[in-house]
Every structure is written in structure tokens, then in C-alpha cells.
């Protein structure tokens, strides 16, 4: 079984959505018998996350957080990994970065510095929400359209699918959800979310070894 690390800050409304949705993935990882290390809220900081990576050498790391083309952040937007400062910390790991744009620069740089595979978004990650469900993000029907594909990606990886197949599974669900948003009459605002989910679809990429999987 693999060693798996989750970094799950939750210090603003957007991150809270990612936090709630990824909670299920922590449970899946545990149930599959992976050595699961969950660092959430204030524990998702640079000192703790880098210490876990150094000592436990996780084969798979999921980062939730804000970011940019060159960095992934943790709690209170503290930079955890930077293309300029410490891309080598991701060595020998499969990374999934659920943050804005990190696949455009940090992704390729991390591969040059030894990461096995870097999955992320080359554009800003978009997230829609139903205004009536803010108190309960887990039951937000709009957010589900955006975050369910991301969960499918990680679920596939945790169950041993390779990077390429996991992305295909996520993109298939994204395409289904885009089609649903574009055509449903269940709620009138749905069609206006579709272009933003399409941006996630176009932006989801992997660098490095596409055949890599976790055991």
C-alpha cells in the first residue's frame, strides 16, 4: 500500500469547498489501506507539510489551496512549494494540485527536479456555487459539477489507475457535467456555469510519467 498525503487548508470560503469535498477522499484512501496522512486547516502549513514529505516520502500528494503558475499554497496562503525555491521536494511523487495555474510552470519544473508526475491545471481553476447552499458546500448542486470530476481523478489514482486513465475518467465526468449544465432546465442559471467548467476541462493536464500509478 502507498503512502498518501493530503494538504487541506480551509481558511476561506473557496478553500472550504475543496476541504469538504476532499474529506471523502481521505476516507477512501484509509479504507483502501493506504498509509494516509491528512494535514488539514492550520496544519496544512509549509513546516508540517515539508516535514511529512521528507520523513514519509509519500508516493501521492494532493494539494488543495490557492496558487499561481509557480507556487502551491497552504493555510493562510503560505507558499509550500515554489518553482524557484524548492521544486525538488516533490521528487519521486505523483502530485495532484487542485489550485490555480500550477501546472503551467511548477508542474514542468517539478518534473525536471525528479517528480514522477504532476497533475494540475494550467489555467485558473474555476468553482461555481449555489448561493443557497453556502452553509452546506457538500450539498451544493453547482459546486458538485465542478468538484466531482476532481474527486473522480483522485479516487481513480487511489484505486491504482494510472495518471493517464485517471485524467480521462475526470475529463469524461467534466464533459458530462458541461453537457448537463448546457442543456438542463432544472435551474435557469446552469448554462452560465458551463464555460467555467469547460475552462477546467481544457486546463487539466499532467506532466511527467503518464503511466505512473500508486501501489
Amino acid at each position: 500500500m502507498a503512502s498518501v498525503l493530503f494538504s487541506r487548508p480551509s481558511d476561506d470560503v473557496t478553500l472550504n469547498y475543496l476541504y469538504y469535498y476532499s474529506k471523502e477522499l481521505v476516507s477512501v484512501s484509509n479504507s483502501l489501506g493506504h498509509k494516509t496522512i491528512n494535514k488539514e486547516k492550520e496544519e496544512a502549513n509549509k513546516k508540517i507539510i515539508l516535514s511529512v514529505i521528507e520523513k514519509q516520502k509519500p508516493e501521492f500528494i494532493m494539494f488543495n489551496g490557492h496558487g499561481s503558475s509557480e507556487v502551491i499554497c497552504g493555510h493562510k496562503q503560505e507558499v509550500i512549494v515554489s518553482a524557484k525555491e524548492n521544486p525538488g521536494v516533490l521528487k519521486n511523487a505523483i502530485i495532484y494540485s487542485l489550485s490555480c495555474s500550477s501546472a503551467s510552470v511548477l508542474g514542468p519544473v517539478s518534473i525536471e527536479n525528479g517528480a514522477t508526475s504532476f497533475i494540475g491545471y494550467k489555467f485558473d481553476f474555476a468553482l461555481g456555487k449555489d448561493t443557497e447552499s453556502e452553509a452546506s458546500p457538500k450539498h451544493d448542486k453547482i459546486a458538485k459539477m465542478f468538484l466531482e470530476p476532481s474527486n473522480i481523478l483522485v479516487d481513480s489514482l487511489l484505486k491504482g489507475k494510472n495518471v493517464k486513465r485517471s485524467i480521462e475518467n475526470a475529463k469524461k465526468k467534466m464533459a458530462e457535467n458541461i453537457d448537463y449544465l448546457h442543456t438542463t432546465s432544472n435551474f435557469p442559471e446552469a448554462v452560465y456555469y458551463a464555460p467555467f467548467l469547460f475552462s477546467n476541462y481544457m486546463g487539466l493536464v499532467a506532466h511527467g510519467n503518464q503511466e505512473a500509478s500508486i501501489n
Partner: protein, 76 residues
């Protein structure tokens, strides 16, 4: 030539703004470096001010319309 390019960009911007104006005010999107969700009018404001987020919104909307027309997501 420069003037022509600006006219084209302005047209694209107007198309996107008009499309966004048709959305209900309840639409909420978190996007880019901003930590909070933006409503319809805030999305339009980003486009009008041509911020980085606004430019990206224009690109997204136009790429979406083109790709949907091509049936790309339906595998056609």
C-alpha cells in the same frame, strides 16, 4: 493595424459582457487569485476593467462557444 486589433478585442469584450448580463444575478464563481466568489456584476466588472481575470473570462467564454459549436465535447 493596432486600431483594428483593439476594435476586434472591444467587440469580443462586448459579446462576453452581453452574455454575462443575461445571467441571473445569483450566479457565483470563484476564479483566479481572488479568494471570494464573484457574482454576475463582479464578473462583468472584471471584464470591463480588463483585469487579468477579466481577460481570462473573455477567452473562456469565446473558446467555449467555439468548441461547443464544433461539438468537441460530444466527440463529434
Amino acid at each position: 493595424m493596432k486600431e483594428k486589433k483593439e476594435n476586434i478585442d472591444e467587440l469580443k469584450k462586448e459579446i462576453v459582457i452581453e452574455r454575462l448580463r443575461q445571467a441571473p444575478p445569483t450566479v457565483k464563481i470563484a476564479f483566479g487569485s481572488l479568494n471570494e466568489f464573484m457574482n454576475r456584476d463582479e464578473l462583468i466588472e472584471q471584464v470591463e476593467k480588463e483585469t487579468d481575470i477579466g481577460k481570462r473570462i473573455v477567452k473562456i467564454q469565446l473558446e467555449y462557444l467555439k468548441s461547443f459549436k464544433r461539438g468537441m465535447l460530444q466527440g463529434e
